[in-house]
Amino acid sequence: MEGTSTSPHQERSLIAAIRGPVLMITVGALFAIDHAGLYSFSTTWPAILIVLGVMKLMERASPRS
């Protein structure tokens, strides 16, 4: 417990901390795709929901403290 007690903490907050940047990259990528004329953002926005859901799932899946 003593030596490893920080790691579950660390891991959960790591995913929480990653969430913002990942979301930002996703949004940026979707807009880039939009501006390149491949798929419009109005088509691809649900991908943001999917990414959010996956992040949440990962948060669950990581070991709990």
Binding site: T6, Q10, S13, L14, A16, A17, I18, R19, G20, P21, V22, L23, M24, I25, T26, V27, G28, A29, L30, F31, A32, D34, H35, F41
Partner: protein, 482 residues
Amino acid sequence: MRPRSIAGPIILIAIGALFLLHNLWPEIAMFDIFLRYWPYLLIIWGAVRLVEVLVWAGTRRALPPAGVSGGEWTIVVLLCVFGTLLFWGSKWAPSWNSDIRVRGLEIFGERYEFPVSATKEVGKDARVVLDLGRGNARIVGTDGTQITINGQKSINSYDQNEANKADQQTPLEIVSVGDQIVIRTNQDKLDGSRRMSNDLDISIPRSASIEGRGRYGDFDVRDLDGGVQVTSDNAGVRLENIGGAVKVDLRRSDIVRATKIKGPVSVKLSTRGRAGEDLELDTIEGPVTVAGAFSGELNFRNLAKPLRFEGVTTELRVEKTPGFVKMALGNLTAENVQGPFHLTSGTRDVNVRDFTGNLEIQVDRGDLELRPARQSGRIDARTRNGEVDLVLPSGAKFDLNASTSRGEISNEYGAPLKLETVGRGASLRGSNGGPPVTVTTDRGSITVRRAGTAEPPAPPAPPPSILPRKLSPPPVPEPQRQ
């Protein structure tokens, strides 16, 4: 201390570098680059934060509760909103984009003005081409045989020397090219991102014809016996007293007005977005063709030949318009027109008064009010969703068939019309041996009335129209309700 992000400083450095780049090489279209590539800013920003968080985690330092702070999200949302708006705005309206750049330059540079003038002897029936670029032109037909131009040139520049140089690069010329006389402003010879415009008063021989090409600015043409053709990215066009054919081809426009035209008139605008605003055609002796998307008011008055209009969702054909046809966003009013009158439209309230000949109307949504003149032809009017008000002149011959799938019909005309309730709708039929008159609505009520004998033919004035009906009340059978 909790580690602080390096993203903020990096972005500051990047913005500073961009401005430096812009000042070093002003011809690089920074605005366009930003418009196209701003999403990559988000990706890079997110990646920086991601790497940072991973590094912090790797070195076992405390992590922030959220990788991206609320303030940062606010900036991101603003970036997304403005980036998207500007990107699409520039795509739909390329001229708008360049306006922004002009405005931006005006902040830095100053406006220098130079007088311009030119004269050239040309034949009586010259074919004149005006290559204007940006700026306004007022063209008047006169009795002479020469072209005279007076006006001024505006150049945005940082200093007088540069402005003088730009002035020398762009002389105003009148040259003969083949059988044409070309007036050139030479604006395309200007280098860099500098902008200029010409404001010209041009007089040309009355019997000449003119073709104007522009990018941004107005064309006013008056008193010409020849034809007029105007092509521009964005222009207001005013034409008066033209003997020949008129052809106007614009991408965007705030107004197109043509009065007293003897030849055919054709106006074509982009069908994208709100390309045009107002259109006014008055006293046209030739056939009229109009196509494009308009957001303002369209006025047609006194057209001797057929009118043909094609909008985004609206199509209109009128054989002759001694009176007027007026269209605004969501409605159409016509008075004293001759059929065949044909209209198909999306959402529009339609009011047609005092018409003769055949009439055919089909709208998706909107109320219809029809008042045929004494001698009208076949009528076929349908709306999917809206009320219909049909006012028949007394003594008119017709074979009426009015029906609604959901709604009531009130018969204020009386015999020989018979009302029938069908499900949630109703139908009204009756004939006295005239041409077929069919009015249909899927959802909405129908009223069939008799135009009062004392009723003035002018627009409905309620009191007189009610009085005569009260004097001679027709035996209206109360519609049966189920």
